[in-house]
């Protein structure tokens, strides 16, 4: 971990904002907006973390 790895934290606000705005543009009910945005946020973060983990794994194997 070095200073440049802090850059990864900057992904978080972007993903949260994207999830909220996208869900709000699809639904009018607040319950659905929150539910869908949390689900989308977790999905995107999961995909990003999974991809990073695979890349790290490949990188340490090569």
């Amino acid at each position: 971990m070095d200073a440049s790895s802090n850059l990864y934290w900057l992904i978080l606000p972007l993903v949260v904002a994207f999830s909220l705005v996208y869900s709000a543009s699809r639904h009018e009910s607040w319950r659905l907006i929150w539910m869908r945005s949390i689900r989308l946020c977790l999905l995107i973060l999961g995909a990003l973390i999974g991809t990073t983990a695979i890349l790290l794994l490949i990188n340490t194997q090569v």
Partner: protein, 179 residues
């Protein structure tokens, strides 16, 4: 079942207001919660990016879109944030006609290559790139908000929230809940 019509009022005016300031079109339609959500999310992303790039990641220059070396690919995205990104377009236009202008002390004018190089050296090029991505993403997110102001939400939500019914595009109002 009860129906709650979503009044889109004048959709074109709402879309214009949504472009001008994120959330303003929804406020005009009386969708104040959504207005706050869009304003907070989009403007905070834009201004975080703006501050990360020290205010020098949002600028415009008038060149042919085919000139990919000089064309500002990120500005067409940033443009959709509306008023916060508009000074860059004004500066770009003034600089096109008056290259030595110092309008608004160069606020949001295209920075010189020396300034850009210095910024990359001082902040690190990644942080500058993140600033560009943030401000561009904010504009692209506002496209969704503008479309929502114009067309209403994509789905009509059932009162229990479990099932979704896709609705056709409406002319003036959308109805939440089914008959």
């Amino acid at each position: 079942m009860s129906q709650q019509p979503i009044q889109l009022r004048d959709p074109l005016k709402a879309a214009f207001l949504a472009w001008l300031i994120p959330g303003l079109g929804h406020y005009y339609q009386g969708r104040k919660g959504k207005a706050a959500l869009y304003a907070i999310c989009i403007l905070s992303i834009y201004f975080i990016g703006f501050v990360l790039g020290e205010g020098k990641v949002v600028y415009w220059r008038w060149v042919s879109p085919l000139n990919l070396d000089k064309f500002m690919l990120h500005y067409p995205g940033q443009f959709f944030v509306g008023l916060p990104a508009l000074p860059a377009l004004i500066q770009g236009t003034i600089r096109y006609f008056l290259p030595n202008s110092n309008f608004l002390w160069g606020f949001m004018a295209e920075p010189s290559q020396n300034v850009i190089n210095g910024m990359h050296a001082r902040l690190g090029s990644k942080l500058v790139d993140v600033g560009t991505i943030y401000t561009t993403a904010a504009g692209l997110l506002n496209v969704l908000a503008i479309y929502d102001a114009y067309e209403g939400p994509a789905y009509v939500d059932e009162p229990d929230g479990d099932e979704l019914v896709e609705t056709p595009a409406s002319a003036g109002a959308k109805v939440e809940g089914t008959v």
